[in-house]
Chain length 204, copies 2
Amino acid sequence: MSEAKKDNTEEKILIAAQSVFIRKGMDGSRMQEIADEAGINKALLHYYFRSKQKLFEAIFSKVFKQIFPDIKNLLFAERPIEEKLGIFIERYIDLLMKNPFLPSFILKEINRDPEFLASIIKKQGVNPDDILRVFEMEMEKGQLRKFDPRDLMINILALSIFPFAARPLMQIMFFDNNKKAYREFLIQRKETVREFILNSILPK
Amino acid sequence: MSEAKKDNTEEKILIAAQSVFIRKGMDGSRMQEIADEAGINKALLHYYFRSKQKLFEAIFSKVFKQIFPDIKNLLFAERPIEEKLGIFIERYIDLLMKNPFLPSFILKEINRDPEFLASIIKKQGVNPDDILRVFEMEMEKGQLRKFDPRDLMINILALSIFPFAARPLMQIMFFDNNKKAYREFLIQRKETVREFILNSILPK
DNA sequence: TTAATAATTAACCGTTTGGTTAAACTTTTT
DNA sequence: AAAAAGTTTAACCAAACGGTTAATTATTAA
């Protein structure tokens, strides 16, 4: 029985596990529920991934990569910085609209087990310094107002991610719990955030 | 036995429950751990609060109130809007620095059980429309650039809350996991966020 | 002082949970 | 075709969990 079948089952498990973990987090998820959603026996989960922890680590690593979209190619391209930032923001919010549970999941788990997070980051060779250096270079060239590039990075992430992470609360408070209205708002927001960020960093 | 002793035990439970729930969330918390931290028998928890759910609701309601600080008095004061917003941002970030686990806790739980959240909001009579209306009035007076006041509100919250909610990740990525450096950054940020927001809304 | 009431605990209970085992079934190898 | 290896399942297990019970201790009321 082989690659074909094995891959198939393993993939069914990964898909189901991602769906459950991402919605309920490590603590809130049950192995039985994952097995049910994958349409297999619970023992099979342990046959493919020895423990809940191991299965979770596989999913978290996979999902974590998604939140670092293909930013480097974009960032090192030969384009004006305001264009690059605009494109990044739009793409990032698009990514989140397609994966609305992602922000809440990541925030939950990085707070639950920060040390595990640190080990993942090391393994993946994420290098934020490259990004910060791009900003610093633009500042020196006079294309950007001067300030701590980490603030800029965190501002971009905050403005993009927060409306998804806090969605239920925002939706109730400011949109009468109208799902469609909030969705429209998020689409609009791609432009709003872009303007907001660019307005704050371009030299007056 | 009475008020004195009863209050004392009840309060010990509330303090312990808040400490545990806020760090580990509903799913991650154990009644035994709360009992231990309160220095009492587990059965006492059920004697004072019938179930884990009930105890959690008591804590969540209490904590939830804290994230709506005394904003109304401030907002309806007779002051220039930029002054009011500046003060609000500073106070809010101060509040979060004193309660660093609050953002992650709230975000976790509003996503876990949004309907319970809705019921809490109703009970507490939070009225965000009042706030939005203040912004709209300032726009009509020409004191603020015109745009969706909900964006402004969400931007303020995002910029203030996100650095706390995503703290472990940000600290590792941008600060070499240096706790002190990140703390300094957050203190600085009170000013940064204020400038950032005001710069974005005051008429050019 | 004592009866009644409230607070507190140790021991227990049923269920759920992550995980294991041994057997059955399927595919591959010889 | 039969043995070996890999895959899948039903049944089971021990630990952890939220919650209950019955008895004990402390406080209040008579």
